[in-house]
């Protein structure tokens, strides 16, 4: 990432202020939380951003009188959670790897364009890398998490009626999940993962001992998604990711097109920033 001139920085500051004001105007908890069978109703399509971006939704796909279609980068920003002007990416918190494994993390990170099991592969990203569910369908006995990922559509069926983990299933990319309600928070316990995924980019590998706990709490039309990762084979302590705020959306998920990567043969170096 390269430097920015003063105009860019000033523009970034203005945009951050505008976005901040928008976020403040959308404080969660101002609308009542709908309930279903005694629990918060998590049904809906949820998007991973906090605060509406003012010019967005009303202009999406709008065709001007001259035939021009409004194509707003704001949508990209919404999906990618990027600031208006891209700033140098801050260093991410490193999971608490065992000291003897730090060299492996660095090596994988340095070779990420070839070593990453997700990018360029069309394979499932795994949990927690897949992020919060894009849609939740909540039933009496189970909850479905549905994902519209660039690598494909994925789903997880999560029993919430006390059924234990399925010990008969093979280890998998998205693991085996069971859920329970702890007050108004849905707590999902996930295990039985394969090791063909990373926790995130930058070489954050894990073992098949991975154990993930997700916590989903709805307040008004905002859903908070929190994740804690444990992996006693490679980590010295649980690793809690930064929580995410999701907003209820009226968009509809669609069937993913075929996934076929055409980029890998054209990479000229290992740069992944």
């Amino acid at each position: 990432m390269r430097g920015f001139d003063s105009k860019s920085l000033a523009l970034a500051a203005v945009c951050v202020m505008l976005l901040g004001a928008a976020a403040v105007a959308q404080q969660p908890g101002t609308t009542p939380t709908p309930r279903l069978n005694g629990h918060p109703n998590l049904n809906g399509v949820w998007y991973p951003y906090a605060g509406h971006l003012a010019p967005d939704s009303s202009k999406k796909g709008e065709t001007l009188q001259d035939g021009s279609i409004i194509a707003s980068y704001a949508y990209e920003r919404r999906y990618n959670q990027q600031p208006a002007v891209q700033a140098p990416r801050p260093a991410r918190a490193l999971p608490p790897y065992k000291p003897e494994l730090l060299a492996k993390v660095k090596d994988l990170s340095d070779r990420q364009t070839e070593a990453d099991p997700y990018t360029y592969s069309c394979k499932p990203p795994g949990v927690p890398r897949i992020g919060p569910p894009h849609q939740i369908v909540q039933g009496d006995r189970e909850v479905a998490f549905i994902y519209s990922d660039v690598n494909g559509n994925y789903w997880r069926i999560i029993p919430t009626d006390g059924r234990p983990h399925n010990t008969e299933s093979d280890a998998s990319y998205l693991g085996d999940s069971v859920g329970k309600w702890a007050g108004d928070t849905l707590v999902v316990d996930v295990n039985n993962f394969n090791d063909d995924t990373w926790l995130g980019r930058d070489g954050f590998f894990h073992s098949t001992a991975l154990h993930v706990t997700e916590r989903l709490t709805r307040r008004g039309d905002t859903l908070t998604y929190e994740v804690t990762v444990e992996d006693p084979k490679v980590l010295t302590a649980p690793w809690t990711l930064q929580s995410r705020s999701l907003e209820l959306s009226d968009e509809r998920l669609e069937e993913a097109p075929p996934c076929r990567d055409l980029d890998r043969p054209h990479l000229t170096n290992g740069d992944h920033h």
Binding site: L64, D66, S68, Y120, S148, V150, C259, L262, T268, D271
Partner: protein
């Protein structure tokens, strides 16, 4: 048309004051030169409406009449739709002349990452604008840059 394009540029440009650069889900810098977009004019010959990125193919004829097929890489289908591009809208351009600005591949192959695309009917979409872009074109090449 020029007047219409100018109006459109002004309108959309205003919306883009706080525009963010698109970042592909993979490395951009390892694959494309984000400094100087190039212009392509050619005939749409193929559409690959796939994830994680769509790929459009333009048959571009040089001054000597030699035709080279250029690959134009866009984003995920969902992002493209939000940018005003559907599969139907690009399928409809098959065999028609398109103008594309894109960031060229670093390995010298005839490929670009989509910046802006002008459709045969004159409407256009702006898809990405790299923070490193020093071409002076801005978010959208102005009508004067259309020949």
């Amino acid at each position: 048309m020029t007047k219409k394009l100018r109006q459109a540029s002004m309108t959309i440009g205003a919306l883009f004051v706080c525009a963010a650069p698109l970042v592909a889900h993979h490395s951009f810098a390892a694959e494309f030169d984000g400094y100087k977009p190039i212009e392509l004019r050619g005939t749409m010959s193929k559409v690959e409406w796939i994830n994680p990125h769509i790929h459009l193919f333009l048959d571009v004829k040089d001054a000597q009449g030699k035709v080279t097929t250029w690959e134009v890489e866009g984003g995920p289908t969902r992002h493209m739709r939000d940018a005003g591009v559907t599969k139907a809208s690009v399928d409809a351009t098959f065999g028609q002349n398109m103008q594309v600005w894109g960031y060229p591949a670093r390995n010298g192959s005839p490929r670009v990452f989509l910046k802006t695309m002008f459709f045969p009917d004159g409407h256009y979409i702006a898809y990405s604008n790299q923070p490193t872009d020093n071409s002076g074109l801005g978010e959208i090449p102005r009508p004067a840059q259309r020949r």
